[in-house]
């Protein structure tokens, strides 16, 4: 049962991710991205990490992607407004992406993955254990990241305010 | 600006007080008002079973009266058609034949009498113009129809049935009062 679910979720995740890149309509891309997030949440649930799965849905699928969709709808992107890219830019983009692929392949080759025994009955994903890990082992990185977010927020507010005054 | 009527009221809308800014107390007050209305008497009239009573002098659908012996009063003089401001009334007159005395009171009668209910403004001038007490406006209403042609009412719809006389005594009193005033 578990491997079947895993394979089905993986295939749909990859197909949806491809859909994000391939589809011409930006709205379709965003919707495919949302589906991809759902597939990833499914993976989390398979790994018994329900908290992570639901937070992924709430934060990414439920809030950030709504904002993406909001902006794309507001901009009303279509073929007429699609920016024309020069051949040079296309070639440069292809080379960069190819190099990135090479790097990723190199990294994956060096990693030795622990074998998956199909039994994930660990309680690692439970809120209690997660909280313990976050607030004891990784307290400083966790708080630092929150300060980072605060800085980003303050910066955004400042930029917004400046435009109004002028 | 100079106030002409001296009835002008200056309403000042000052800053909202702290309690008003909190919204919630004001909302609670509003909820209190609406919940009071839950228990008030309902003003709805449940139409087909329950009908709103018309005023005594209501001017609705016309009727062409018959006299006590069941003879039509109308003599097709055309006064009503002349009086009608909306030109809703037309008629064709005919002479009474021998043996028809029980049908028509006068020697001349209207063989065709039509009122276009879409043109009629229910002013009641036809009733005032009539010298023969033949036409009256009643407290009935004109039915709704799908077709414009059906709003031209002929004698079949206007003349009262012998077995179903329509009471116009209230209107008669009012008309007489009006005539008295004119004298």
């Amino acid at each position: 049962m578990l491997p079947v679910l895993f394979i089905a979720l993986s295939i749909s995740a990859i197909l949806c991710a491809l859909g994000v890149v391939v589809s011409r309509n930006p709205i379709h891309s965003v919707l495919f991205l949302i589906l991809t997030f759902f597939c990833i949440s499914g993976h989390y649930i398979l790994m018994n990490a329900q908290f992570l799965a639901l937070v992924n849905i709430i934060v990414y699928a439920g809030a950030i992607m709504v904002l993406f969709l909001f902006v794309v709808m507001l901009l009303n992107l279509n073929k007429a407004t699609e920016p024309h890219k020069s051949d040079m830019a296309k070639i440069a983009a292809s080379i960069t992406a190819g190099l990135l692929l090479m790097v990723m392949l190199g990294v994956i080759k060096g990693v030795s993955l622990p074998s998956f025994d199909g039994m994930m009955d660990s309680e690692n994903g439970y809120v209690k254990n997660l909280g313990r890990v976050l607030f004891q082992d990784y307290l400083i990185p966790f708080e630092l990241s929150s300060i980072l977010f605060l800085a980003a927020m303050v910066g955004a507010v400042l930029l917004g305010k400046k435009n109004i005054e002028e | 600006m100079l106030s002409l009527s001296n009835r002008k009221k200056v309403i000042e809308q000052g800053e909202l007080s702290f309690m008003e800014k909190l919204y919630l107390p004001v909302i609670a007050k509003g909820l209190g008002i609406t919940v009071k209305h839950l228990f008030k008497r309902k003003v709805t009239i449940k139409y087909p079973e329950q009908k709103r009573s018309f005023a005594k002098i209501y001017r609705g659908l016309h009727v062409l009266k018959r006299d006590e012996q069941g003879r039509e009063n109308c003599t097709a003089c055309g006064m009503c058609a002349v009086a009608c401001p909306a030109e809703a009334i037309t008629m064709i007159s005919a002479e009474r034949k021998k043996g028809e005395e029980h049908l028509y009171r006068e020697e001349k009668y209207a063989s065709v009498y039509e009122i276009n209910m879409l043109r009629c403004i229910f002013c009641g001038l036809c009733e005032e113009a009539c010298p023969k007490d033949a036409i009256y406006l009643t407290d009935r209403t004109v039915d709704s129809e799908y077709n414009r042609d059906t709003f031209i009412y002929g004698k079949d719809k206007l003349v009262e049935k012998i077995d179903n006389r329509i009471d116009i005594s209230q209107r008669k009193i009012k008309t007489e009062q009006k005539l008295d005033k004119l004298k």
Binding site: A61, A63 | G30, T34, H37, R41
Partner: protein
């Protein structure tokens, strides 16, 4: 194992039907309630006192022609109402409707799934719910629908934050994310509304915003946007949208009762010494009575208060609700520390 699965399937079916029936009768109740507040009688022709009106409305919706506007995105246009309805119904999975039923010596919980993160699940479903509105509004290819969809998304995101922040204090006080445990902790008179009144008020206001009810029904406000996101919908597509709103209302009322008003617990019922199953059934009834009160409250507010302006809505959400919720969290945390210290 098999009997367990069968029981769960039956429970899912029962909750599905009950949610739909309650939503169905909420529509007639809404119309009746509006009428009474406005000194009218309300729909009273279908069946005695109008009780069959929802069925007549449903039949009417099904029989109407389903119109897809020109240049609309056909697939997404169809998918919008379905997503709205599905997400609305899915949240009821984690709501504990009662204690346990003893059938043949076994205990069965009156809750489809006791997730250890039940509250987060409800939030997830609420946050996905906006996609139904957004997709439908965009796919209609109509400026009013699009504006409604945009309003819906910005409003939902803004109030979702305040809503979850307001619940954090409740979670801190009860120390669990599971709905059934929170309900259990409130037995007797230990209702969370008594210890967390501010949290309840913020949650209530946000629930109004999340279900798109007046005074926050800007996504569908008739006077400005005709019908908002469902302007172009007809037939059952429109029906599903309107229906999803009532299902949402029922679910959010049920969540409020579970989190703040003691859920299925009847105070002092254990002193009566009733049979276990009878006690459970009475508890379920009590739960639905309280839920019904909140559904009525939703309607009562709708026919009392006019709509907010959009900037007022955003101000209220970001400048009042979120700071208040944060202060509430701070105060609750401080109080918990003080109580722990003196224990």
């Amino acid at each position: 194992m098999d009997s367990f699965l069968i029981y769960k399937a039956i429970l899912v079916l029962v909750i599905f039907v009950v949610s739909l029936v309650i939503a169905m009768y909420s529509t007639i109740l809404e119309r009746k309630f509006a009428a009474w507040i406005q000194d009218r009688v309300g729909p009273n022709r279908t069946g005695p006192g109008g009780v069959l009106q929802p069925l007549a409305d449903g039949v009417k919706m099904f029989m109407k022609e389903d119109i897809i506007p020109a240049h609309a995105h056909k697939f997404l246009f169809k998918a919008g109402p379905m997503i709205a309805m599905t997400t609305a119904l899915m949240a009821s999975v984690v709501i504990p409707f009662g204690k346990t039923l003893l059938i043949g010596g076994k205990e069965y919980a009156l809750q489809v799934s006791d997730l250890n993160i039940g509250i987060l699940y409800v939030f997830a479903m609420v946050s996905i719910g906006v996609y139904g509105i957004m997709i439908g509004g965009w796919a209609s290819n109509n400026k009013f629908s699009l504006l409604g969809a945009l309003r819906a998304s910005s409003q939902m995101i803004s109030y979702e934050l305040a809503m979850s922040l307001s619940l954090i204090s409740v979670i801190m006080a009860s120390g669990t994310l599971s709905m059934s445990e929170i309900a259990q902790q409130q037995s007797g008179w230990h209702w969370n509304v008594i210890t967390q009144p501010l949290s309840f008020i913020i949650f209530l206001i946000c629930a109004f915003a999340e279900t798109n009810r007046t005074p926050f029904d800007l996504p569908e406000c008739e006077t400005e946007l005709i019908g908002g996101y469902h302007t172009e919908y007809s037939s059952m597509g429109l029906g599903l949208y309107l229906f999803a709103e009532y299902v949402n209302m029922f679910i959010s009322s049920a969540v409020m009762v579970t989190l703040f008003f003691g859920g299925y617990n009847i105070p002092y019922i254990e002193k009566l010494g009733l049979a276990h199953n009878l006690e459970t059934i009475l508890g379920v009834l009590f739960f639905f009575v309280k839920t019904g009160f909140f559904i009525l409250f939703f309607m009562w507010v709708r026919w009392t208060i006019p709509r907010f302006r959009f900037d007022q809505l955003m101000n209220l959400g970001w400048k009042y609700m979120i700071p208040l919720a944060l202060i509430n969290i701070l105060v609750t945390g401080g109080l918990i520390l003080i109580f722990d210290y003196f224990k």
